[in-house]
């Protein structure tokens, strides 16, 4: 018997390997129905006819994924080691810069972890192998982001206040309920809404507004570790953006009945995300000793130009319209950061970051960046806050703010076209009143009142006695805040240490 000569083994191309190791591992169940294996993809009303149409343009295999990510991690950890050994924190522009990183550490890594969890869920529960595999990769990315962010910033915890209990704070402290409620809103939605909320709106529509300010802020202010982390996450983010765009196009192409559902989610999550990143606006314009660009410029470039001018022109083909309430957001671009920082300034005695009145140099920058609006806030609030300082005091709000039921931010945003009258909106549902900062937040509540009436509003919880007690020291103790974590920057331990490290006499505290 003769054995036929074997053909030499040919290596599979990248594309073939990808198919063999992902799509080809899929099978059609025969003992159970598809609905039993994937029970969560119908109740939201999204109709899918052919899951194989889900395209995954990256065509990564697990093997290739691990190789790339390990290499990136090696580079990042080498930078972290070098920075720690050379006492790199001494080369920051100013200790004040750390406030931006405190907010980042307190508000972001825990929700990277949330994203990891929900993409892991999609990696199991999406019907198609393309969608599952892309979700698996993103799930691993988000876990890695959580870990590397925590690791990157842990060095600073040895030298600065406001970083030691970020995990507890993110569950308890008032301003951190803003990102927490945002992500929990998305986590408790169905898988398709999650994809529009996080995959599309957050990772595509708003991602540059969130990440570029932090990462270029880091680069401008001598924070090599955070900048390196940013670069290391960048290639992941481009995959996430692609997944988000693929998700929305897939839904729109599968059935025309999906359009109104998708548009509704887009309207909701644009506004949710936009309100969330208003914290970034305050950080960019007021907390960076060396500025990259103003919030207004970033909004015009990354949102108005790239998204409204570019992306939405493409989506028009599917019948998608720019998000509801987008004009309200555009109308706020010259006032948003002033209002947010004024909120942070007057409540920073109950926070894990410090604030201070913009100094002469800051004020000159604000004046050229916001020639119309900065003078309004300088004259109405900052000059008065300065007078209080000059008389030996420090203005902190003596009470608790009215919170928006949806975004959970103190209701310090103003009526369109009137920078000095706060916006008040109320809805009554089943006999109970609920408050909102804007038409956008009210619209979101009115769509799903039963969801948002469950909001764990920090102020209401304090008054119900669920946060350690009725006084500020009680609540601060329950939050886990220590002296030096918050309040005024000038004279704070971070400020005193900074001066001492640089051989300058400490100031009067």
């Amino acid at each position: 018997m003769t054995v036929p000569a074997q053909k030499p083994v040919r290596k599979l191309s990248m594309k073939q390997r990808y198919s063999a190791l992902t799509h080809d591992l899929d099978w059609t169940p025969t003992y159970v129905t598809e609905e039993q294996v994937f029970p969560h993809t119908t109740f939201e009303g999204i109709k899918v006819h052919d899951w194989s149409k889900w395209d995954d343009p990256f065509r990564l295999t697990v093997e290739a994924y691990n190789k790339y990510q390990a290499e990136k991690d090696r580079r990042l950890y080498a930078v972290l080691d070098g920075f720690a050994q050379s006492q790199g924190q001494l080369g920051l522009t100013d200790a004040r810069y750390m406030n931006a990183m405190k907010i980042f550490l307190q508000g972001i890594p825990i929700h990277e972890y949330d994203a990891h969890r929900n993409f892991a869920y999609l990696a199991r529960y999406a019907n198609g192998p393309g969608a599952r595999f892309a979700a698996l990769c993103q799930s691993l990315d988000e876990l890695r982001h959580a870990q590397t962010e925590i690791h990157t910033l842990s060095h600073y915890n040895k030298h600065f206040d406001g970083m030691h209990d970020w995990h507890k704070w993110s569950d308890r402290v008032w301003y951190l309920s803003v990102p927490k409620s945002f992500f929990e809103d998305a986590l408790t939605a169905g898988p398709f809404e999650w994809l529009i909320a996080i995959g599309f709106s957050f990772e595509y529509l708003l991602t540059n507004l969130l990440f570029v300010p932090f990462m270029s802020g880091a680069a401008f202010n001598g924070d090599l570790p955070t900048m390196t982390f940013g670069f290391s996450a960048q290639s992941d983010e481009s995959r996430h953006m692609t997944l988000g765009l693929e998700a929305i196009k897939f839904m729109l192409e599968q059935d025309e009945d999906n359009l109104p559902i998708v548009q509704d989610w887009l309207d909701k999550w644009f506004w949710r995300g936009y309100r969330l990143i208003s914290l970034v606006a305050g950080m960019m314009d007021y907390m960076l000793p060396k500025r990259v660009m103003s919030w207004k410029e970033a909004f015009e470039l990354y949102f108005e130009e790239q998204m409204l001018g570019g992306l939405f022109k493409d989506l028009e083909y599917y019948g998608i319209k720019p998000p509801r309430h987008v004009d309200w957001a555009i109308g706020e671009k010259e006032i948003l950061s002033h209002q947010v920082y004024w909120i942070l300034y007057q409540y920073s005695h109950a926070a894990a970051f410090s604030t201070t009145i913009p100094d002469a140099e800051d004020q000159a920058w604000l004046e050229q960046a916001y020639p119309e609006t900065w003078p309004v806030y300088r004259d109405t609030v900052w000059n008065k806050a300065q007078r209080v300082m000059d008389e030996g005091g420090r203005y902190f709000n003596p009470g608790l703010p009215q919170l928006c039921t949806v975004c959970q931010i103190p209701m310090g945003f103003t009526e369109p076209g009137d920078p000095l009258t706060q916006c008040q909106r109320q809805s009554v549902y089943e006999g109970e009143r609920y408050d909102f900062c804007s038409d956008g937040c009210q619209w979101i509540f009115d769509r799903e009142p039963v969801k948002y009436r469950q909001s764990w509003l920090p102020v209401h919880q304090i008054f119900q006695g669920n946060c350690g007690g009725p006084t500020l020291p009680d609540v601060a103790a329950w939050y886990g805040l220590q002296p030096g974590d918050g309040a005024e920057y000038l004279g704070s331990p971070d400020h005193q240490n900074w001066l001492a490290w640089h051989g300058q006499a400490p100031q009067e505290g």
Partner: protein, 107 residues
């Protein structure tokens, strides 16, 4: 709109009046003064006379160095958007102030 879910989705409010016993939450808004960045939320007894609220405001808003407490005596008041002339001896409840009502004044 009902929340889309795989079961009958119905959960109670976490800010309902019943959590506050004989008290209620009241938002007090000093309209036109953004030194106080937003309206303030307080927990007040429903039976508290309106005059007591005015007295508390005189102390509270003095955190603004330009505030003149006596000006409160001639303030214009609104409750949930409706102008009222408060009866200072009667309770918040009798003056139309409910749970999470917005009590607004201008000087």
């Amino acid at each position: 709109m009902a929340v889309k879910a795989m079961y009958d989705y119905d959960w109670p409010s976490r800010s309902a009046a019943e959590f506050y016993g004989d008290d209620q939450l009241v938002h007090v808004w000093f309209r036109g003064n953004v030194f106080f960045v937003s309206a303030q939320t307080f927990r007040f007894p429903k039976a508290m006379p309106f005059g007591e609220l005015v007295g508390l405001c005189k102390g509270f808003f003095a955190a603004d160095p330009d505030f003149v407490p006596d000006a409160m005596d001639s303030a214009n008041w609104k409750v949930d958007g409706q102008p009222i002339t408060p009866d200072l001896d009667r309770s918040l409840e009798e003056n139309g102030v409910g749970h999470k009502s917005l009590v607004e004044f201008t000087l």
